[in-house]
């Protein structure tokens, strides 16, 4: 038992306790703005925990998607609704507490049969996992086993996920895609007059950073075969750069740089690329999404296939994130929520 393992176990439990404290605070606080911020911390702690539990790819995704994108979206929703929650009836709270206690006891009882945490002889580690860990290097030829499994062994599954994201983005466009606010020409004029005078610090810094963020997104996209990364993560990072641009320069400027038809085309192209890769392998007399035939050698074919598929996922996720952000930000603020409310919003 060496110091590394002890450190990692202690960090594991401490992080879980942090999450529990945050969760209880989320349940108790009624100011929704604070709740959303705490749920951001909760996701971030979750991501830290994934790193401690060796799931670097998952941590990557959770940090970018869970902590970043969903916090921004929730704040966007708060801007359109109200940041205050009504008090709940105590009878309902008691009923809920009773239900939760019983379910919790049942879960703990069920867990008594489980193998201990980190047990290498647990059944979960003895079915397909050894095959992935031992043979994927010969079959796929990529160091990152998670990418191999994601894009090749379980390629059907991932294609389904890409389509879910596509559908969700389409659903958001249908529900709230048509913004209600149109700017008058005089407003546009003040925009261009003021554009250089305001937010000097943010403008300069974001102009400096955005190219590097995009570059980093590309690195994550193409380096996903060798280290943590891949299409899901890269798509969100790429989207985050555009969200930053939209936050600082306004939605109009963002839409001028990246019109909505472009994101919609990219959204569809991504899933098309994924499914198209499968169709190409079918044309070449193999099964759907069997990449072995895409190049002269099987591992070479796997490389090409995984790169294409990951790129398709990246495109879809990027377009979905930007589309969803623009849908929320473009909706006019409902009149229930004025700036003056916010000064007192922090007092619980």
């Amino acid at each position: 038992m060496n110091i590394e393992i002890i450190t990692s176990d202690v960090l594991n439990v401490v992080t879980l306790l942090f999450m529990a404290v945050t969760g209880i605070a989320i349940a108790r606080i009624r100011n929704l703005f604070a709740v959303v911020m705490l749920s951001g911390i909760y996701s971030l702690m979750g991501a830290t925990l994934y790193v401690i539990l060796d799931a670097v790819d998952v941590a990557f995704t959770e940090a970018a998607v869970g902590a970043g994108a969903s916090t921004v979206l929730m704040i966007g929703t708060l801007a359109l609704t109200s940041a205050r929650e009504n008090a709940t009836g105590s009878s309902q709270a008691i009923k809920a507490a009773i239900v939760c206690t019983f379910v919790g006891i049942a879960l703990v009882y069920a867990s008594l049969d489980m193998p201990y945490f980190g047990d290498p002889s647990a059944p979960i580690h003895h079915h397909v996992a050894p095959r992935y860990l031992n043979d994927s290097m010969a079959e796929i030829g990529l160091p990152n086993v998670v990418t191999s499994v994601l894009a090749s062994y379980r390629g059907y599954d991932t294609m389904g996920e890409a389509f879910v994201i596509f559908t969700a983005a389409a659903g958001v466009i249908t529900l709230i895609g048509r913004g209600r606010r149109e700017k008058s020409p005089s407003e546009r004029k003040t925009d261009s007059q003021n554009i250089m005078k305001r937010k000097i610090v943010l403008r300069v810094v974001s102009k400096l950073l955005i190219p590097f963020i995009l570059l980093f997104g590309l690195y994550v996209q193409w380096h996903g075969d060798f280290g943590p990364g891949g299409g899901f993560q890269a798509g969100v990072i790429f989207g985050a750069a555009f969200i930053l641009y939209g936050l600082i320069y306004g939605l109009g400027t963002l839409r001028a740089a990246l019109p909505s038809w472009v994101t919609r085309v990219i959204l569809a192209l991504g899933v098309l690329l994924y499914a198209g890769t499968g169709v190409v392998s079918m044309i070449k007399d193999a099964r759907f999404l069997d990449y072995n035939v895409l190049a002269s050698t099987p591992t070479g074919g796997q490389h090409v296939g995984i790169l294409l598929v990951e790129f398709g996922v990246g495109m879809t996720v990027f377009a979905a994130i930007v589309t969803i952000f623009c849908a929320f930000a473009g909706r006019a603020a409902a009149d229930v929520n004025t700036v003056s409310d916010q000064g007192g919003a922090g007092n619980d």
Binding site: E4, L11, T190, R198, F216, L247, F328, V339, Q342, A345
Partner: protein
């Protein structure tokens, strides 16, 4: 050992930041605490890479730092305007 000490220090500081995030008293204090918490997470991830003996996963820290920044800007913008798609329409209090 060195890394364990560093991780312990960062975790203790996280407790302080968490306390401030829970105490408030207003929105700005919370945002500040969450921002600090994010920075501390960046540190914890970097240190944990060394604890684990595989420090090549530092890409994660970059993402954390990035998300932390964008999150803070988004939240500040929401507090200032109650609206995220806001451009520059001459509101004197709008300069963040």
């Amino acid at each position: 050992m060195m890394f364990a000490v560093a991780a312990a220090g960062v975790v203790v500081t996280m407790i302080f930041a968490m306390a401030r995030a829970l105490m408030g008293p207003n929105v700005y204090n919370r945002i500040l605490a969450v921002n600090v918490f994010g920075t501390l997470s960046v540190m914890l991830i970097a240190i944990y890479g060394f604890v684990d003996g595989r420090p090549e996963f530092l890409d994660l820290s970059i993402v954390y730092a990035l998300i932390n920044f964008i999150g803070t800007i988004a939240v500040t913008k929401y507090v200032t305007f109650s609206d995220m798609g806001h451009g520059d329409d001459g509101d004197p209090a709008g300069d963040i």
